[in-house]
Symmetry: C2
Subunit: 318 residues, 2 copies
């Protein structure tokens, strides 16, 4: 355990040093528009600090600006609407520790702008619509996540965001959602089956209050080594969360971790520390996990992010 702890805390070697570029740990967070990718990512970046972790949104690889898209029949969800081959190339470069000159799509005004130099740090998060679309892209990641909220909740989130932050009116957003649905089905949702972890934030059964705290269900596929939750979770933890062996939609076996919407901080803290202890890390569990906005904290979100953080460190220890 002593040497592991040293391994985690060793200083990050930048690319300029003599041993050649250091390969970062790469995490993909895929999901449809407004599925919660940015919220999940922000907590991880805040936890590790921007000097240790870089996050990139691969929606920047849009091939057309908003004006040009008006002449196209497909939506931004379609691979043909994106420089998928360049995205794959850049993922490979980052995975090898090389810098990239990343294109930039401005969501505010729908224009394509001046590209940006991105140098991989210790960890890289790639979030967006299509990071798991192709085998070549998937091969670049140490861990992959698909965000899978129920569609009615995602629709609410998208309407709320696009009307407040991107200047659309609600009717336009609803029409756009309808127009995108066939391409969501064809290109976005198939990525669900490619992820190591599928996350679903949902209202507790029967609760229709739009401001209700959400529960989380995490499908933990045996494609990567998850923390040993079967041993960590005791009866004491049951009021907050439980692990259930189940079958996925496709019939394959999977562990489903459910964290209740009203999970008590006292219990989740205990679980967090047990998970964290498995890593053999001396650092404390980062306090920034679970933050939805400056005044709102979610225990299901905190546990979900902690499991991703676990995988980042786990992958680095090789």
């Amino acid at each position: 355990m002593g040497s592991r702890s040293v391994s985690i805390q060793r200083a990050w070697r930048g690319n300029g040093e003599s041993e050649g570029p250091h390969r970062p740990i790469m995490l993909a967070i895929a999901g449809d528009s407004a599925a919660g990718k940015t919220t999940i990512t922000r907590g991880l970046v805040d936890a590790l600090g921007s000097d240790r972790i870089t996050s990139i949104c691969v929606d920047d690889y849009h091939r057309y600006d908003r004006e040009e898209r008006k002449t196209k029949t497909f939506t931004p969800l379609h691979p043909d609407c994106n420089y998928v081959e360049i995205m794959e190339q850049h993922l490979q470069l980052l995975a090898l520790g090389h810098p990239i000159l990343k294109p930039v799509y401005n969501h505010k005004d729908g224009t394509l702008g001046r590209p940006l130099l991105v140098e991989p740090r210790e960890f890289v998060i790639i979030e967006g619509l299509l990071p798991l679309h192709s085998k070549l892209a998937r091969a670049c990641f140490d861990a992959t996540v698909y965000l899978d909220p129920p569609e009615p909740i995602r629709y609410e989130w998208k309407i709320k965001r696009d009307t407040t932050k991107r200047g659309y009116d609600p009717e336009t957003v609803k029409e756009e959602l309808a127009r995108r649905e066939p391409e969501s089905a064809a290109f976005i949702r198939p990525q669900r089956s490619q992820a190591d972890i599928v996350m679903r934030f949902d209202r507790p059964d029967g609760n229709t209050d739009p401001d209700a705290t959400l529960s989380a269900t995490l499908l933990l596929r045996p494609t990567i080594a998850h923390p040993d939750l079967a041993n960590i979770l005791t009866d004491d933890h049951h009021p907050a969360m439980h692990l259930k062996l189940s079958r996925d939609e496709d019939g394959k076996p999977v562990d489903a971790l459910h964290i209740h919407a009203d999970a008590e901080r006292e219990i989740t803290r205990d679980v967090e520390q047990a998970i964290w202890k498995e890593l053999g890390v001396d650092e404390n569990v980062p306090e920034s996990l679970g933050t939805i906005d400056p005044t709102t904290r979610s225990e299901p979100l905190a546990i979900s992010q902690l499991i991703l953080l676990y995988h980042l460190f786990q992958a680095r220890m090789g």
Copy 2:
């Protein structure tokens, strides 16, 4: 010879085909601002057609726009003012037959714009200020050229171009030339010694008429296999051009091909065909070579471009 001819005329396989990306032949044309890079390049692109040859200007790899550069002490000639590492990466990708998303610098207004997808064709010309700056970049080329006009002529060209096409007044251009001189000496001119061919267009001795037709002197370094001019050029060709064994500035042996400003088309055509014949190509010598503008043709330019075309085909035959 029959099979060579087939080899030259075989259809170009695009990147989408099953045998994997086809590596293009890469030619570098380096030189200071207004040294004539675009004129040389244009003739080659016109000769081969834009479906066979891609040309890229690596000045697009400027790190700062014109506004930002005002706060910097260095000029665009300085490697620190350019994404040299990204340029090297993109040259490597192109050399391997991969597409790149190339940054774009707008010379007209000095802004950095939306990047552009570039897919390598059969041949790729890379022209700019610093394509031969680093060993890694140089390793990407099949042939390399440095344009080396006398500084007074280059100054005239730069003043003429920047006042007519880029909206500067002459005094500003002169001040800029003076400001750039130390970095020209430090970063641009050292590339001369790295090129396979050094081209100097100059006024005939004693002629100071700014509109005088220029002669060309080509230093042909033994770093690549040039056409066998020692055998091709006979006494009949002497009124138009001659080959002289000489020593370069650094004392190293080099062949110097001098083409007189007033070389007669009848003679240069004979030489062109002899050079072309060495390749074993059935196609005619392209007529577009030697074009300075729609009404002006230069035999020294035509021969210089033909030798570059020779190297493009020669390299492709491997």
